[in-house]
Symmetry: C2
Subunit: 414 residues, 2 copies
């Protein structure tokens, strides 16, 4: 008899038939004797439709009013889901953000959750009802509707689970769980049974978009076990757990890639304090996220600085960097949008030397030239020509034998 929070995204409630499927799953869980709270997003496409309407009436839409507009998406979903559950003969009740007091700050469009009033939810659960809560939305201290930003429904679900001390927060998606690599380009990719939060965060930030980053951080902070699973079948998915529980002997847990990458090189940067800062300030002011940064040792008082930015922001970044380079007395700016970042991630590499060597060797044997390298405690990333992205993922997946479960891997190596 557990208390289970189930979160369904926009695709899972994207049509009337899919809403009925979600209802069936919630009812089945309830019939097993569990208390069930369902958190849902807006129907797929709805948020975009609403944003388009806003853009049609306003050139610079006010964020407070945009939140009023967007919050209707989830409101439609909770009403339809509650109706569908009731149609199956089970008690259900919908709650909007303000009705369960999902209190946030007033940062419209990217509000942060400050607290939840669990009592209305507990009252409904106490009489056996299924609770349906609108994800993505909250209410600030003035009673204004706020939204948590894209993917915020994951965060809502985790916050609700934390407030209720739920036994698990199940995140339903259209994939079976978290994989060792993108199954679309690596057929040997294997579903990971348990992954530690740090690894999950690295994979998420690298484009393996199963879970919203903030929700993973939030879950770990409040010790909410996360279970990422498929909305199409009942099989186990992947559990995201604190690091100590995840240690299964794997050095590398997964291979990720990110194609939304462009590389800029500023030539002949004067090697004097403040120059590099002056180069990156305009990018920061323009909210351009600079990722890998490489600066070689200076020669003759000059050095080259190379960095990556999201490819979608490359044009803007180039213009800003060229202007800054002129002002700072640097040389030419070279740009290359045909690059990708490939990374291996694993909490186990902290205690295992030789991972980088194994990665570079595998890439070299496959004839893939490494343009930039960047490392963190649990990740090694290489920027390469993006034509070799899929090949690199498969080569690295093989090199670290990720198709074998961690236990087997250890045996074969010992």
């Amino acid at each position: 008899m557990a208390l289970i929070v189930q979160k369904f995204g926009g695709t899972s409630v994207g049509s009337v038939d899919r809403i009925r499927n979600v209802a069936r799953r919630a009812v089945a869980t309830r019939k097993q004797g569990h208390s069930v709270v369902v958190v849902v997003s807006a129907m797929a496409g709805e948020t975009d439709r609403l944003l388009k309407l806003a853009a049609q009436v306003s050139t610079t839409p006010d964020e407070r009013e945009v939140d009023v507009l967007l919050a209707t998406g989830e409101q439609v979903s909770i009403a339809l889901l509650a109706l569908a559950i009731r149609d199956m003969g089970h008690e259900a009740r919908s709650f909007l953000g303000h009705q369960v007091q999902i209190r946030t700050d007033s940062a419209h469009g990217s509000a942060r959750i400050q607290g939840i009033d669990a009592q209305p939810v507990l009252d409904t659960l106490a009489v056996g009802g299924i609770v349906v809560i609108a994800g993505f939305q909250g209410v600030d201290e003035h009673g204004a509707i706020t939204t948590l930003g894209r993917g915020g429904s994951d965060l809502s679900a985790v916050a609700v689970a934390a407030a209720l001390h739920a036994d698990v927060c199940e995140i339903y998606t259209d994939v079976d769980g978290i994989y060792t690599a993108d199954p679309n380009i690596c057929e040997k990719a294997r579903k990971i049974d348990r992954i530690c939060a740090d690894e999950m965060l690295e994979l998420a930030s690298l484009g393996a978009k199963v879970l919203q980053t903030r929700s993973v951080e939030f879950a770990m902070k409040y010790k909410v076990p996360l279970h990422c699973r498929s909305s199409f079948h009942d099989g186990e998915g992947s559990w995201v757990v604190p690091e100590v529980e995840a240690m299964e002997g794997a050095v590398v847990t997964g291979v990720a890639y990110d194609r939304n990458t462009a590389k800029l090189t500023v030539m002949h940067v004067p090697d004097v304090p403040g120059t590099v800062a002056g180069m990156f300030r305009p990018l920061a002011d323009a909210d351009i996220n600079v990722d890998v940064i490489i600066q070689n040792t200076a020669q003759d008082g000059r050095t080259d600085v190379t960095f990556t930015v999201p490819r979608s922001q490359a044009q803007k970044a180039i213009a800003l960097t060229e202007a800054a380079a002129r002002q700072l007395g640097c040389g030419k700016v070279l740009a290359d949008s045909h690059v990708a970042k490939v990374s291996v991630v694993g909490a186990g590499m902290r205690s295992q030397p030789g991972v980088a060597l194994r990665m570079f060797t595998a890439m070299g044997e496959a004839g893939i030239n490494i343009q930039l390298i960047s490392t963190s405690e649990i990740k090694i990333s290489c920027v390469i020509d993006d034509r070799f992205t899929e090949l690199a993922v498969r080569v690295l997946h093989d090199a670290f034998e990720l198709d074998r479960p961690p236990g087997q891997l250890r045996e074969s190596q010992d």
Copy 2:
């Protein structure tokens, strides 16, 4: 410097362009120095779209959840309108039903307003902002969203105007105001400048659907002047006022018709107490609204009873009446769906005899046979063959010289 409440229906906010028009009008009123509160409905078609979704997930949709669903329609409208007003450089703020505490009972789908918290509205007006309020919706004592029923946005506007002691509640529609007859079938129809509430109620209940009935009652109870006007131009519309202010000497104010009428006659009804009650009880239980009822003096202990029902409910009414007639020992049931009701309405007829005679004479001279007659203090209705509906309206409009303003009419008669 007045406080003006403006209400716009679904057609007036039916597209992005139309929402911008509404914004322009609100801003223009504000620029004249007035305080402006706008109440809006859902965009045309939206409520039907949502109800269709509800019907797809549930065979007997729960009314509480349907209200959660429907309330999104007005929420989208207020957000878009506030955005459009702000885009024109004016401060605007949207409020949902619960944010201005439009408190209602818990009769979901047809809730009654119990009170409003005017303070948040007054605060926004005090700093010069235009207030945009969601019509149609309220909140009950448990914090659940309620809706007021179809056309409820008129009622919201009047209730807001009453709570704010507004100088006027302007109801914007796609017609210029209230006419002496339907301009589509009577080209001489004249816009009425001032109409008393009782007349308005009779006209509304007879199919001249400019104003929702409950909102007129509410406006008169709280002495809110109503101004029905066109959303397409700035010309004056029709004012709905207490009777004493409306007296302009007109005996008849307008001619109305209703084609949603069917006539049933039960033959040979035993003239014993309780028989007629037994005949109408099944209709009442089935929520069928019986309108005109005629019973002639009995002969030989038997009488015929004739009555009208909405044509849309005729089949059901016939079946129920036939069953009742058998049980009560009555004769055959005759039904005729090809009838219409034509009425003349006017508060002035209370003090003016001869109106009925003038009506019957005009109908007779036009060769229109009157099948049933029913009268109230300020209305005389005739049921006729529905093929003569338009002719009857024009004939009566001429007979009472409704194309002339009341002042002129009086002069010509004196």
